[in-house]
């Protein structure tokens, strides 16, 4: 039995009824392409969600005074009221291999007033050069340019500009509470308008150079609220944060080095949930496909009962018959896989590199866990999953062939040959 060319027989049998083979293979191939594509799309969404949550404004890791969250009080700067050597910290962080960028920030709440209206907002003091490396929201300004230090220059979001009916070049009044308890106010010039895509952000944030904000708030240069850090891959954020926590010089009061996974645990859970769903999807898809394949194989073996009868009459064992049928099942699986792969891979490459934009259908961006998702059908590659799908496909084909194989092995030789 071991020399019997099972695979070749199985393969050739496929050619005997090309339509049926084709249709059967089509069912499995569709299942394969579908699983690969749907999961690829879902992962694309996940990646975008994480990316958006972290690289738009926040960064993958945030470093604060341990008391800073959740109140975000003006006084809880890194190093407490004494502040700390911010440049030293930045040097250490920049030295880590996984770190792509790091930038200090200062935050305060206040009012922004144009001649016509007043908006409540959150002021953010940034180091423009470092900030551009870190986040994306300042990359493409809607209008104007980034503010220059020492000139009382300000940047606001698109929504806020609209609410204030203001444009680049206008003068704005800025009002806030200083660290010494006084009400601070000053006149600033709007030099640029940004659009992040997150309406809340665009309506609330006003951005200026960090030194200017510190001055306004009566904070010395060594007091900042946050150092935001970007890593090359969001997935290494946790490990990097742990490393940095060890590497950074001790600061009193204690600081925390927090990766995005801690800041947004719900998002982490959601990604894990989505991962679990993939197996359910694959299970359902192939669970349905198996009926079609089983049916097909039953028909095929029924048609060839005479052959099996001859084989058995000549002395082959039922096991040989099983092998013949199973090898045909395997051959169907292989053909389906080839068909599926030929369709799936170009499709995935296309949707990875040039995904169609769905905004026509949806009209708006979606936020999930506070992250902005743009409605494009971008897919992510996941080679281990593809192998899992391929395995599921072959297993389905074999399982489907199992019952027909057993039935074929039970063909009563004499009765069949005499035409019953």
């Amino acid at each position: 039995m071991s020399d019997f060319p099972w695979l070749r027989i199985g393969w050739r049998n496929l050619g005997r009824n090309r339509k049926r083979t084709g249709l059967t293979a089509l069912g499995l191939a569709v299942g394969f392409v579908a699983s690969v594509f749907v999961v690829g799309w879902s992962e694309g969404l996940m990646v975008e969600m994480v990316e958006s949550a972290t690289s738009l404004v926040n960064g993958q890791i945030e470093i604060h005074d341990a008391e800073f969250r959740p109140d975000r009080s003006l006084y809880d700067t890194i190093g407490g009221r004494e502040g700390t050597d911010v440049q030293a910290l930045l040097r250490v962080i920049d030295g880590d291999a996984s770190v792509v960028a790091a930038a200090p920030r200062v935050y305060a709440g206040g009012l922004v007033s144009s001649g016509e209206a007043t908006s409540a907002g959150l002021f953010m003091g940034i180091d423009p050069a470092r900030e551009l490396e870190l986040t994306r929201f300042l990359d493409q300004l809607v209008d104007g340019r980034l503010p220059v230090a020492g000139q009382n220059e300000l940047l606001v979001g698109e929504e806020m500009a609209r609410q204030l009916s203001t444009g680049v070049g206008d003068e704005l009044v800025v009002v806030t509470s200083g660290a010494d308890g006084s009400m601070a106010n000053d006149l600033y010039t709007l030099v640029g308008i940004f659009r992040s895509g997150l309406t809340d952000l665009d309506a609330t944030f006003a951005v200026m150079p960090i030194g200017d904000l510190q001055t306004l708030l009566v904070l010395p240069p060594n007091r900042v609220h946050e150092i935001a850090v970007a890593t090359a891959d969001p997935m290494v954020a946790e490990a990097t944060a742990a490393r940095l926590a060890d590497l950074l010089p001790a600061v009193d009061p204690a600081i925390e080095v927090v990766p995005w996974t801690v800041l947004n645990p719900a998002m982490v859970d959601y990604v894990a949930l989505a991962d679990a769903m993939y197996f359910i999807i694959v299970g359902i898809v192939f669970g349905i496909a198996i009926f079609g394949v089983a049916n097909s194989m039953l028909m095929a073996t029924f048609e060839r009962r005479r052959e099996f009868a001859v084989m058995l009459a000549l002395g082959a064992t039922p096991r040989s018959v099983w092998a013949a049928v199973l090898s045909e099942g395997l051959a169907v699986g292989v053909v389906s896989l080839a068909l599926g792969a030929v369709v799936a891979f170009p499709l995935m490459v296309w949707f990875h590199n040039a995904p169609p934009d769905m905004s026509r259908f949806l009209g708006s961006d979606v936020t999930i866990f506070g992250a902005l998702l743009s409605p494009s059908l971008r897919v992510e590659y996941n080679v281990p999953f593809w192998f899992a799908c391929a395995t599921a496909l072959i297993v389905t084909a074999l399982l489907a062939a199992l019952y027909p194989a057993i039935r074929a092995g039970r063909t009563p030789p004499a009765d069949t040959l005499s035409g019953l």
Binding site: L111, T118, V175, A266, V285, F291, N295, L298, G370
Partner: protein
């Protein structure tokens, strides 16, 4: 002279014969029919149940989402949406017109809650700092059934009708400003005279919605307080309603637009449906539905391929039989009809069984819903809505008909090619076959 064809009686439809042959053939190939039917039954079951769950989920999202914002339908001045300025509030006349319109019986029957509010942005400050805040000035009695915030009291209480300087504040804002129950703080905003005006408030209640956006910015105050502070009397910026069923939104909105035609024409009012005022939520629902359509489109393609396979194979195996039928006098069209009926019957029966199973499952979970908290957890937010982990599946007749029609179309489409094959056989050729 040869007789003409008129003497031949015209061809009857033979519906009875076609049905009989089709059904008997299905019966004869029971095993194949059952295998094909099984795939369709599971598909139909999953389809109905998943969409019921989906519709139920979306309804919950929408209900939560609209209660946290302006309602299923909101009426406000057209400019207000963008500007959020107090000048763009509704005039007293327009407001009473709106409130009268909402009393119309057809609308009132759908309305679960109705609230008129003044919504403005302000700066909230305390000795600990200053934060942007969203002030929502309300009539507590109307707002309570409308909003969800009043039920989410952490400490203290919600606003009461006699309150004057009371504020109901989100926990995030309370922590940022280092406040407590009973603390005083100041809010500042631009008043009707275009000056920046301040108002002292006292915290009477603290809430936690689970939504950072709300917890960190929302403050509810009595409408008179806002009026005194900003000089707007008892004016409001928007009037919103929560409806019993989101499917009625379009008709309610249309009705309102009719009644408010005049103010709308003058630019004093506009009627917004929730999908316009909350496009992110609408997009979320659309994406979720789209995901489902995609998955089921795929599943049913696989099922359809299975149907084509089965029906086609049975045609090819009955080549001879079809030849005999045509020799006996059945037309090609009638022969094709037998195959079409077989395919459709198989699909229809298995589809109905599957859908019925789906309905049963939906009904079973209808009362208490399914608790997904193990999977989703308590903290999920999606487009500004906290997702309740308990999902109650929802049955909609429109969805059911959609699904049944879809299944029948699949069955018909899958049977067309095999039916054509059956119809176009060469009768004489077929006689050479054994089967």
């Amino acid at each position: 002279m040869a007789k003409t064809l008129m003497t031949l009686r015209s061809q009857p439809m033979q519906v009875g014969v076609i049905l009989m042959l089709a059904l008997r053939n299905l019966r004869r190939q029971l095993r194949r029919s059952i295998l094909t039917a099984s795939a369709m039954i599971i598909g139909g079951w999953l389809l109905l149940f998943t969409f019921s769950l989906g519709d139920g989920t979306h309804e919950t999202w929408i209900d939560s989402g609209v209660r946290m914002s302006g309602g299923h339908v909101t009426v406000e001045r057209p400019e207000f949406r963008r500007s959020r300025k107090i000048e763009d509030r509704l005039s007293a006349d327009v407001r009473s017109t709106i409130e009268r319109a909402l009393e119309a019986p057809e609308i009132a029957a759908q309305v679960v809650a109705q609230s008129a509010r003044l919504t403005i942005n302000a700066l909230a400050s305390s000795p600990a700092g200053a934060r942007p805040a969203q002030i929502i000035a309300v009539d507590p009695l109307a707002e309570a059934p409308f909003s969800m915030f009043d039920d989410q009291v952490l400490e203290g209480r919600y606003l009461e009708p006699d309150d004057r300087l009371a504020a109901y504040v989100g926990i995030g804002l309370v922590e940022s400003l280092d406040l407590r129950l009973g603390s005083r703080f100041v809010v500042q905003a631009q008043d009707t005279a275009q000056d920046i005006s301040g108002q002292l408030l006292r915290v009477v209640g603290i809430f936690q919605s689970g939504m950072p956006e709300a917890d960190q910015t929302v403050i509810h105050i009595p409408i008179q307080t806002a009026g005194d502070w900003l000089g707007s009397d008892r004016d409001v910026t928007n009037v919103g309603v929560v409806l019993a069923d989101s499917a009625t939104v379009a008709s309610v909105a249309t009705h309102l637009e009719r009644v408010l035609a005049e103010p709308i024409a003058h630019g004093d009012a506009s009627v917004l449906e929730w999908r316009e005022s909350n496009p992110a939520l609408y997009a979320a629902v659309a994406i979720d539905n789209f995901g489902n359509y995609l998955v089921y489109g795929i599943l049913f393609t696989i099922i359809a391929v299975g149907i084509v396979n089965t029906v086609l194979m049975s045609v090819l195996h009955r080549h001879r039989e079809f030849g005999v039928l045509q020799a006996l006098g059945l037309t090609p069209g009638q022969t094709g009809a037998i195959v079409l009926v077989e395919g459709l019957t198989l699909t229809a029966i298995s589809g109905v069984i599957g859908v019925s199973l789906g309905l049963l499952t939906t009904w079973y979970f209808f009362g208490d819903g399914i608790d997904f908290s193990a999977l989703i957890g308590e903290d999920m937010t999606f487009s500004g809505v906290v997702i309740d982990p308990i999902i109650v599946p929802m049955f909609r007749v429109s969805r059911l008909s959609q699904i049944l029609v879809f299944i029948l179309v699949i069955g018909a489409a899958a049977s067309i090619y095999p039916a054509r094959r059956a119809a176009t056989i060469d009768t004489a050729e077929a006689m050479k076959f054994e089967r």
